[in-house]
């Protein structure tokens, strides 16, 4: 069976994923009689990178564009502008046999384990699908590979599960099957879109640990998309915080959690509930509610909600990400 070799161990500054000024706009129509054609800036001029062997977190509230970013990277959709490089190959330009290779290199794990497995397929068919469509191995080899993957993700004994249907499995087991499907072609990079948010706590930790373990054993790099900063802190080396299509802050996980710089990150962190009744958290310092970035004004995206907003924030365009210290980026006029 021809599978891509297990990637070499991480090389410190080598980026497996590089995203450059990535944008994705969606047209939206408003009004019935007078149609106005507007653009929803789902992802707007985002740049970041994921280093080989690292787990990078993309954190934000629902509708901030984090899932769109993940789908762009997995080439489920094509960008409006900007470029994505995986292993120095431009994702939107990949074609033909390179695309086949790309599909094996980059995999995705989806949020809802109840929806991401075809209800009419057996576990065997689901996990072999990537091998099947890429024509890897014969039936025997595939069987062997599937059994190996299932035991790797903790579905044991594999033979007891091969010919079951997804609805016969629990949520945690399904998500493990989904992980096995993603890993069966030995990917080097995995986009994990909220893989644990639908799972119960006692199950969730197991899946999180599995992902961490797989990264150790197989040297896989992840982009971990989540709304939960506490989860991101536990799983990720570095975190990028997204707000209305813009990346507002980047840094190591501990830096972001311990000393958030951007006012939005600060509010987000102070809003996370803590399991200790003795701690009275301060009220998050943020105004108003979340809006949609439809034809946004040329000013800081966070202006309306920012407690520190000044004139410069409204007068100038959305601030660029600036490196404030080594590897630490913030997009704010005031800082």
């Amino acid at each position: 069976m021809v599978l891509p070799a297990t990637p070499d161990m991480p090389d410190a500054d080598d980026a497996i994923l590089r995203v450059e000024r990535l944008s994705k706009y969606y047209p939206v129509s408003r009004g019935f009689f007078q149609r106005r054609h507007l653009l929803l800036h789902a992802v707007d001029d985002a740049s970041f990178e994921v280093r080989r062997g690292e787990v990078s977190g993309l954190v934000g509230e629902s509708g901030c564009g984090k899932t769109t970013t993940g789908r762009l990277i997995a080439r489920l959709i094509l960008p409006t502008a900007g470029r994505i490089f995986v292993d120095n190959a431009d994702v939107s330009k990949i074609q033909g046999s390179d695309l086949v290779e790309f599909r094996q290199k980059v995999q995705m794990i989806f949020q809802d384990p109840y929806e991401s497995l075809d209800p009419r397929m057996t576990i065997f068919d689901i996990v072999t699908e990537p091998l099947n469509v890429n024509g890897i191995g014969n039936l025997e080899e595939r069987e062997e590979r599937v059994a190996e993957m299932l035991s790797l993700v903790g579905i044991t004994p594999p033979s007891a599960f091969l010919f079951r249907f997804p609805h016969e499995l629990s949520g945690g087991q399904r998500q493990r099957v989904a992980i096995a499907r993603a890993l069966v072609v030995n990917p080097t990079f995995v986009v994990a879109d909220e893989p644990t948010s639908m799972l119960d706590v006692s199950i969730r930790t197991g899946v999180m640990k599995l992902l961490a373990q797989l990264r150790e054993d197989l040297g896989i790099s992840y982009l971990y998309i989540t709304h939960d900063l506490a989860v991101a802190r536990y799983l990720c080396d570095r975190i990028a915080v997204m707000y209305l299509g813009k990346i507002v802050e980047m840094g190591t996980a501990e830096e972001i959690v311990k000393e958030p710089l951007h006012p939005y990150t600060r509010a987000l962190i102070s809003a996370v509930p803590v399991p200790d009744p003795a701690i009275r958290r301060p009220v998050p310092n943020i105004k108003g509610g979340l809006s949609k970035p439809i034809n946004p004004l040329p000013r800081c995206r966070f202006y309306e909600r920012c407690p520190d907003a000044r004139g410069v924030c409204a007068d100038q365009n959305h601030p660029e990400l600036k490196e404030v210290s080594g590897g630490r980026f913030v997009a704010c006029h005031v800082l």
Binding site: R71, A74, L76, L99, V100, R103, Q104, V106, Q107, M108, F110, Q111, D112, E115, S116, L117, D118, P119, R120, M121, T122, E129, P130, V133, N134, L139, F163, A178, R181, A182, V185
Partner: protein
């Protein structure tokens, strides 16, 4: 491997059967269909053993011993028609052909509808618009008058008629329904997962969308049997079809001989075939209703 798959298929069918059995309407439909099956299967046996083909042949038979139309007698259990043919034999002979016609045309309808529906849903754009407009035209066009016109232009014999009925149905409303279902399948995350795995459009349609649309197709097939039989009966009644014998034809025969005006007196001329059409159509409809609960788990009572 194949053994395991076979077992899984059997188990799946058994589970669906268990759900289906809960539905009284559906089971009643199955029983009626089975009875019709037995009834239709009796014809070749009867004609080869008990009945004299010269007297009882449904199309060319003639009984010289009685006046026609004869009311039910011991010799002709359901009487004879105005040109001396045995009604029971006609009824039995037609049953098998109604089955063939209904199932064949419904099958054609559903195959076309499923393929077009999924393709239109998956690709969208021009393909989608084109087939949806075709479907709109099919639905707006009065179906029966259209067939009357077609029937007057060409000799509509049995198989061409089944084909035409099937094809016209396939491009009509069913594509819209199956497209809607395919659309709801298309946006499921497992379709994305298949694309990330590297699956081609053909693979996704074949391996994911069609299998998930198929139960609904099967359900609509039942309803299409009903509509095919009804169309046949109507067209036969108008005498447009060039088929030897059918339930609709039986009523047509009574009509052209002028016996339908004396409605109650010559009841055996129209009642048996009328009842057969009604029951047969109702049976497939009821099976469809029963299948509805298998296909749409939300309708199930817990």
């Amino acid at each position: 491997m194949w053994k395991i798959r076979w077992k899984l298929t059997v188990r799946g069918l058994a589970q669906n059967w268990a759900v289906f059995r809960e539905s009284r309407v559906g089971m009643l439909g199955v029983v009626i269909i089975l009875l019709f099956g037995v009834f239709g299967a009796l014809w070749p046996i009867m004609i080869n053993t008990v009945w004299d083909p010269l007297v009882y042949h449904p199309v060319v038979g003639f009984d010289p011993m009685v006046l026609h139309p004869s009311p039910p007698t011991r010799a002709h259990l359901l009487g004879t028609d105005p040109i001396g043919r045995d009604i029971l034999a006609q009824l039995m002979f037609s049953t098998g052909r109604e089955f063939l016609l209904g199932v064949l045309s419904a099958l054609i309808t559903v195959v076309i509808g499923t393929v077009i529906g999924t393709v239109a849903a998956y690709y969208g754009g021009f393909t989608d618009t084109f087939f949806m407009r075709v479907a709109d035209i099919m639905m707006l066009f009065p179906f029966i008058p259209l067939l009357v016109v077609v029937g007057s232009m060409v000799r509509l014999t049995f198989f061409p008629f089944a084909m035409i009925l099937g094809v016209l149905g396939g491009f009509g409303g069913i594509t819209i329904i199956l497209k809607a279902q395919a659309l709801s399948v298309k946006v499921r995350p497992y379709i994305d997962a298949a694309r990330v795995a590297g699956g081609s459009s053909f693979h996704i349609i074949r391996a994911h969308i069609i299998p998930n649309v198929l139960p609904l197709s099967f359900l609509y097939m039942m309803f299409n049997v009903t509509s095919a039989i009804l169309s046949e009966a109507t067209l036969s009644f108008f005498g447009v079809l060039n088929i030897d014998m059918s339930w609709g034809m039986m009523i047509h025969t009574a009509d052209v001989a002028g016996y339908l005006f004396d409605f109650g007196k010559y009841w055996w001329l129209w009642l048996p075939s009328g009842v057969a059409i009604t029951l047969f159509c109702a049976a497939f409809y009821m099976v469809g209703r029963g299948l509805d609960e298998v296909v749409n788990p939300r309708l199930r009572k817990r």
